[in-house]
Each structure stands twice: as C-alpha cells, then as structure tokens.
C-alpha cells in the first residue's frame, strides 16, 4: 500500500488512446437483452394483446404490427408513495406559495409509482405478422397445412441444373465462360486466344414436377340483419388468422370474399367487412356462388382451395335442402371447409341449422369442422381445431 506522502510524489498522466470501448458497447448489448425480454413477455401474452389491439387494420400491406409495451422494470424495495412528498428547494418564495399548480402533472401521482426520475416511457415493439404467427403456431402447437396429395396437382416446372458446353445462345453463362477462359489462359503462354469454343458454358434446364403451392381461400360471411357488430368483429379476427395460417404454407394465396343474405355477392377485400344487409339468411346462395367462382377462376387441379364460413348459425328452414346440397357439391372441390359460429349462442337453438349441416358434412367424410366463437379467446381454439383437423385429414 502506498503511503500518502509517497503518492504525492507521483504524477498523474493522460493516457495514450486505448479505445477498446469503441469496439463494443455493453449498454447496447444489455439494451438488446432488455428488448429480447420484452419480446418474450409480449409473446407469452400474445393472444390477449392481439385481440385487444387493432392489428387487423391493413395487416396485409405492411405485414407488421405495432404493439405498445411498457419497458420492463427491475423492481427494488421502495416505500409506498407518501400522502405528501417533501423535499428541499432553492429560490424565492414565501411559506405557502404555490410553486406548481395541481394540474401541471395530473395523473402522475395517482399512478403512484414508477417514475422515480428515470422517466416512464412506453415504447412500441414492431412485430412481424410472420413472427407472431410462428409464435402462435408454436404456442397453439399447430401443425403445418398439407397440400393436396394428388398427381394432378403437380405443376411441371423447369429448373436450372448444371452446365454444358453446348446449348442455346440465350442460355450462355457468361460468368462461367469467363472463368473457364481465365483458367485455360493461366496454364497457356502469354499470347493465348481470349476465348475458344471450349470455354463456352451453357445453363441446362431440367423438368421437375413439384406440388402446387397455390391456394385460394374463400371467405363467406353472413351479413344478414342478425349479424351485429360483435359477430362481425369475431368473424374478422377468425378470418384473419385462418388466412395468415394458410399464407404460412403456400407461396401464393388468393382470396375470394363473399357475403350473403338471401342472395350472395362477391366483394373486394376493403369493402367486405363494411357490407351489411338486412332480412333473412339463405346460405345455399353463398355455397353455390363459391362453387361457381372456384369453377370459373381457380382450376381445382392447380389450386388448394379452402372455405371459411362465418355466420350466426341461423338459416331459413325452406333453404335447408338446397343448402345441404350446395355445400356438399362445394366441399368436393375443397381441401377443407371450416365453419365458425360467431356471437353468443345463448339465444339460439342448439345446435343451429348451419352447425348441423357442417357436422353432417363431417360425418359423411368430407374434410370439414365447425367451432363456436363466442368471445375473442375462442378464436384461438377455433383456429386450433381447424388446423389440427386439417392436418389429420390431409395425412
């Protein structure tokens, strides 16, 4: 140990620069770890977060969702907030002078805690819809979809494979050719020919068959008078995740939006959820329209077709025969048909007409399932039912 007198004999120094810290930021590393923990926290409460937030507005355009989260706080023991906080200050003022009026920081003392000078700010995590789905799929333990097993579904595909010294001029691989020339010249003497025919390399194509990775998803929504605001919202949430689930699997997914009352129409996506009709419900119309659309635009040999239908379950009794028939015809073209009965079931007869129809379909061996979606939480259950079921059907 150095004695003080001794120490005083030594002089301080200013170091030559040793900027190791420019290469590595502990702060940034620990901040990333914090963010990772936030993501984990978000992940574990994902279903609640998602059903609360407005993630469905324009999800397809920007493929990310902004979820506001609070920063994590590392807790320490601290006293409860006092009735009156006191402290020392400096400046002018007589006893009783108001230095800051009550409304200047309204709400902060009410929340009671948190901001101990560090400042309390929430930040927004941008989550990719794909990431959310990955989490959801692992959270819900959902299997991946299986495309149809059918020879007719195989698309012939031309793929590049290998090189040859002969070929069509359009498939000349200039980079390869140049490399060959360089190699050859390297072992020849100084004045070798720049290129010879032997240097030429052409790309070769082979024919491969690959399963069709196209899918079409038909969303059918009952917009009759009995479908209220809640029912639509549930239907939308259900459709959104069903669609995202299918998007995970197929490179190209097309969507068809159909709505019906006693008639059925096709709508563009933007208008789909705004549509409202009135009067009765005849679901046969929408099944028939779906069949027509598939027939006309989506060749069953090239597309995997899915139907998701949401309704409150009521259907005009005179339409029953027609609906069953139309549904069966449609189901023949589909990989899978899912039905979500949205809204409160308390008022309705159980099982409802349409529920009955889908169960009937299932019994006859068609790939189909029905689920009740009364509240937002039920959406996950419904999605799980469909995707597990679908995977089993396809297997």
């Amino acid at each position: 140990m150095t004695e003080p007198s001794d120490a005083s004999m030594r002089f301080s120094r200013i170091a030559a620069e040793t900027p190791w810290y420019e290469l590595f930021s502990r702060g940034a590393r620990d901040w990333l770890r914090h963010n990772q923990k936030v993501r984990e926290a978000v992940k574990s409460s994902l279903p609640e977060l998602l059903s609360g937030s407005d993630i469905l507005s324009k999800p397809s355009n920007n493929r990310t969702v902004l979820v506001p989260v609070r920063m994590l706080q590392h807790a320490r023991f601290r006293l409860r907030a006092a009735e009156t906080e006191s402290g020392a200050g400096q400046g002018k003022g007589e006893q009783g002078d108001v230095l800051r009026p009550a409304d200047a920081q309204q709400g902060e003392p009410g929340s009671g805690q948190g901001g101990t000078g560090e400042g309390e700010f929430t930040f927004v995590v941008e989550l990719k819809v794909d990431d959310i789905l990955d989490w959801l799929w692992s959270e819900l333990k959902l299997p991946d979809l299986k495309p149809k097993h059918s020879a007719s579904l195989d698309d012939p595909d031309l793929m590049r494979e290998g090189w040859d010294k002969r070929g069509a001029r359009s498939r000349l691989d200039r980079r390869r050719t140049l490399k060959e020339a360089v190699k050859r010249r390297a072992i020849q003497d100084g004045n070798a020919t720049p290129f010879t025919n032997d240097d030429l390399r052409f790309r070769q194509l082979v024919k491969r068959r690959r399963p069709a990775l196209n899918a079409v998803v038909v969303f059918a929504l009952d917009v009759s008078g009995s479908m209220g605001e809640l029912e639509r919202r549930l239907a939308k949430l259900f459709f959104f995740f069903a669609l995202q689930g299918i998007r995970r699997q197929y490179t190209k997914v097309e969507t068809v939006f159909l709505a019906h009352t006693v008639e059925a129409w096709e709508f563009p996506e933007e208008q789909f959820f705004q549509v409202s009709g009135s009067g009765g419900t005849m679901s046969s119309t929408v099944f028939r329209l779906a069949s027509e659309v598939l027939q006309a635009r989506y060749d069953p040999s090239r597309y995997n077709a899915y139907l998701f239908y949401a309704s409150d379950g009521e259907n005009a009794s005179e339409d029953r025969e027609a609906a069953v028939q139309a549904l069966e015809e449609l189901a023949g073209k589909l990989n899978y048909a899912g039905y979500a009965e949205v809204g409160r079931s308390g008022m309705r007869p159980h099982p409802t007409e349409i529920n009955e129809m889908f169960h009937e379909l299932e019994r006859k061996g068609f790939p189909a399932a029905a689920a009740l979606v009364e509240r937002q939480e039920d959406v996950w259950q419904a999605i799980r039912t469909f995707f597990q079921d679908q995977a089993e059907e396809a297997a």
Binding site: R13, R76, R100, E108
Partner: protein
C-alpha cells in the same frame, strides 16, 4: 472553440497539478483518459467502465442516451477513486472545459484520499475497483457460458435488486457469525479471575457445559442482506454466492460516493475554481470560458428559472466549502473534509446565514401534484436535504429469522421509515429472491392503513 488539443491539455494538466501540489492537495495519482461521449454515457449507466451484464443496465443506458441526445444531461467527467485514480474526460470537449475538469478531478482525488469513508473502503478493498469489477464481469460472462444466460440472470435479478441492502458499517470481508453462544460466566470473561485462577477459599469454578448452545442465525436483525444470503443460503451454488458478494463489493464501493456526494462535488468544485483562479499561466480567454462552464454546472437553477425543486449538490457543496473556508480557514475545511459525510456536513456546517443566502426552503407536494413552499426552518431544510440518503436511499429491511425449513424471514423497519413498502414492487423483489434462495421467503411490512402485512414468496403457491 477548438477541440481539445492533446499536447496543450497535457501541458495545462501538468502545470495545474504542480499548482495543486503546491497548494497542499494530497492524492493518489490520476490516470486520465480521453473517451468519446458515447462511452461516458455508458459509464454513467453502469457506474463503472466494465461491469457485469444485466438488462436493467441496458434500460438505464437507453434512458441516459435519450437524455444525452436531447441535451438534458451533459457528462463532463467520471472519476474513480483508487490507486491510481481513474478519470475519463470527454474527448470532444474544448480545451478550456477539459482543463477545468482536470482541476475538478484533482479535487475529487484529494477528497477520496483524505475522507474517512473513502479511505476506509480503500483500506478494506485496495485501490483497484475497476480491475475487480472487470474481473467480476468476466466471471459472470464465464458463468453465462457455463450455465446459460437465464440462470445467471435470475441471480443478478435478485442480487442487483438488493444492491443498496448492505451494512455499510461492516467489513468487506466479513466472517460468519460464531456458531455457538459465548459461555455464560466463563472464567476467561473475568479479567480478575483470569489472573488468579485459584484464590484461596474461592469456590471451584463452575464447570461450563461442554457444548454451549447453538447461536441463533442471525443473532440480531441483519441488514447486510447480500452478505447474509451469500453466506447462509442452504441451496445456492458457489457461483451464485460469488455473484451476490460481487454485487455487495461494488455496492460498498459506491457507498462513499453516495454518502458524500454534496461534500465531494462541492470540494472538487471549490478546488477547480480556486486552482483555475490561481493558474496565472492560463490564457485569459481560456480562463473565461472555463469559468463560464463552471457557472453553468455550479448553479442553483436552470437558466431562466427562479426556483428549483431540488438542491444542486455541486452548488450547495461549493457554497458551503467557500463559506467554511471564509469563516474558519482552510485547515478547518480540511478537517471537515476528513471527518464528515453528507449527514454531518449538512447538519453541522449548513448554518442559518448560508441557508438564507442560498434561499433554501422546504416544500411539500400533495397527491394532486400541487407543490407549496413549506417553510424556511433551518433544521427542516437540513433534514430534507439528507432524507434521501438515509440507509443508502433504500427502505430498512433486515433478516430477522432463518427457519429450520430454510424459510427466510425479512422484516421491514416501517417505524423508522415512516411508512410501509410499496407492496407491488416488494412482491416482485421477493419473487427474484425466492428464485435463488429456493426456499420460502417472507416479508413483514405495513400497508397504507398501518395494518401489518406479510408477503410470501413460495413455489408451492
């Protein structure tokens, strides 16, 4: 203004240092280093240049970075007492600023060598905290590689949450409690009997029981929570105990800085002002811009304000030292510097005259957010200034019992703290502690109505 030119700074620093020595400053030499402001932000967040990793530091770092980039906080220097002391200066600051900062750091260095709290720590731990902290960080990095981030993080969550819960009167290297109670009436206890083992006519000494009874653990309420957990946890691994002790060691290192902030910053400000004033070798323009920086830092309120709801420790400390030197001379000031910490400094040396001159007052803020001037009573002002510093700024929580089943019982001394704990955060801390303690952890405190409350963290529930 030009950026710091290194050779000029070297020259100024050398001459200022000579001047400081001539004026009687005594200190361990200082290793200065010029660092970019990004690194200063990091040191401010961690408290040390290389410190153990934890996500809560990341959070502090980002707060600091935001404040820094918005211009709310400007860090001029960071100084670490030791032998040698280490100081970091901002490489982008002007020559005038850095010259001032060199003088300021010498003031800190003098304080650190002479003040009793600082020199006590120095005696206990030696002068190499930066190297020790870096070694802690490396050991923790090794542990992360060995057992994984999650496991190490759980330990750090608990240990860092208890960071201020050390007994600052205890030694750094503290032995476990004696296993056995002292034998009552043992002959050795009595100096008279010790000398005259056998006095004629005296009774035979009563045979002491062979095994004195086991001492209870802890024998008294134990406020050194980090130490207690590291020593007496039944189910912790050695590396987990090491982390608790590492956090404790760093915490004890920070304590003098915490408990002497007003004195220390004031002392350094006093000396930078005085050294620069007497440094006639400095060009006039440099002196002017340096003293402008001084008045930006050592001022009671933000520019344009007339009151401040906090007392700037630089300003208060600086004014107090000037006052003491003026009234009682430099020797007296040195004596105060050696013997006091902020508690004694403010209570014994902040007098009526100075409090009036500075315009100090106490204020009260009610729950609606309205803040009123409460008064200008000197004693209340003193207590209000030091109130946030009691018990390392944390609630007083002690281990009261260690049950046979391993339950850790903590008691909050709500009577001294004046009110109960915030239950929500207390529950979370208990959760952290329980994860590493692994047996039940109980905590007694009171709720808002003063009714006693017991919190329990136990995996069975």
């Amino acid at each position: 203004m030009s950026r710091t030119s290194n050779s000029q700074l070297h020259e100024n620093a050398a001459r200022i240092e000579q001047l400081a020595k001539d004026m009687g400053l005594k200190y361990y030499p200082v290793d200065f280093e010029l660092a970019p402001s990004s690194f200063m932000v990091e040191i401010a967040a961690y408290g040390l240049p290389v410190r153990m990793p934890h996500w809560s530091f990341g959070l502090r770092y980002i707060h600091q970075l935001i404040r820094h980039s918005m211009g709310h906080s400007r860090i001029f220097e960071v100084m670490f007492p030791g032998d040698p002391c280490r100081a970091y200066l901002v490489d982008g600051n002007t020559l005038a600023e850095n010259t001032l900062v060199v003088a300021h750091v010498l003031g800190h260095a003098d304080f650190a060598m002479n003040n009793q709290l600082f020199s006590r720590y120095h005696r206990m731990a030696g002068g190499h905290i930066l190297e020790k902290a870096a070694a802690h960080a490396h050991r923790i990095d090794d542990a992360i590689r060995e057992v994984g981030l999650e496991a190490v993080e759980a330990v750090l969550d608990a240990a860092l949450a208890l960071e201020p819960h050390v007994d600052t009167d205890q030694e750094l290297h503290r032995d476990r409690y004696p296993e056995r109670l002292p034998v009552a009436g043992a002959a050795a206890e009595d100096p008279f009997r010790e000398r005259f083992q056998q006095l004629p006519g005296a009774h035979e000494p009563v045979q002491a029981p062979k095994q004195p009874p086991r001492a209870p653990v802890p024998p008294h309420p134990e406020y050194d929570l980090l130490w207690f957990i590291a020593q007496y946890a039944t189910e912790m691994e050695q590396w987990e105990r090491d982390i608790f002790l590492a956090v404790r060691e760093e915490s004890l290192y920070f304590y003098p800085v915490f408990a002497c902030q007003i004195m220390n910053e004031g002392w350094a400000s006093y000396w930078h002002a005085r050294l620069l004033r007497e440094a006639d070798f400095l060009p006039q323009s440099l002196y002017l811009s340096a003293i402008k920086t001084h008045s930006d830092v050592v001022r009671p309120f933000a520019s344009g304000e007339e009151t401040a709801l906090a007392v700037n420790p630089y300003h208060l400390g600086f004014s107090m030292w000037e006052h003491i030197v003026e009234k009682h001379g430099l020797e007296k000031a040195r004596e105060v510097c050696r013997e006091e910490d902020d508690f004694g400094f403010v209570r014994n040396h902040l007098d009526q005259e100075l409090a009036e001159k500075l315009g100090l007052f106490t204020f009260e803020a009610d729950r609606g957010g309205e803040i009123r001037v409460a008064g200008r009573d000197l004693n209340r002002i003193r207590e209000a200034i030091i109130a946030p510093k009691f018990n390392y700024g944390a609630p007083r929580i002690a281990v009261s019992e260690l049950h046979h089943d391993g339950t850790l019982v903590l008691v909050h001394d709500h009577a001294s703290d004046g009110r109960g704990l915030d239950l929500n955060s207390a529950e979370r801390v208990l959760g952290y502690v329980h994860r590493v303690w692994r047996r039940p952890v109980r905590l007694h405190t009171v709720d808002g109505r003063g009714m006693s409350r017991e919190l329990l963290a136990d995996s069975k529930y």
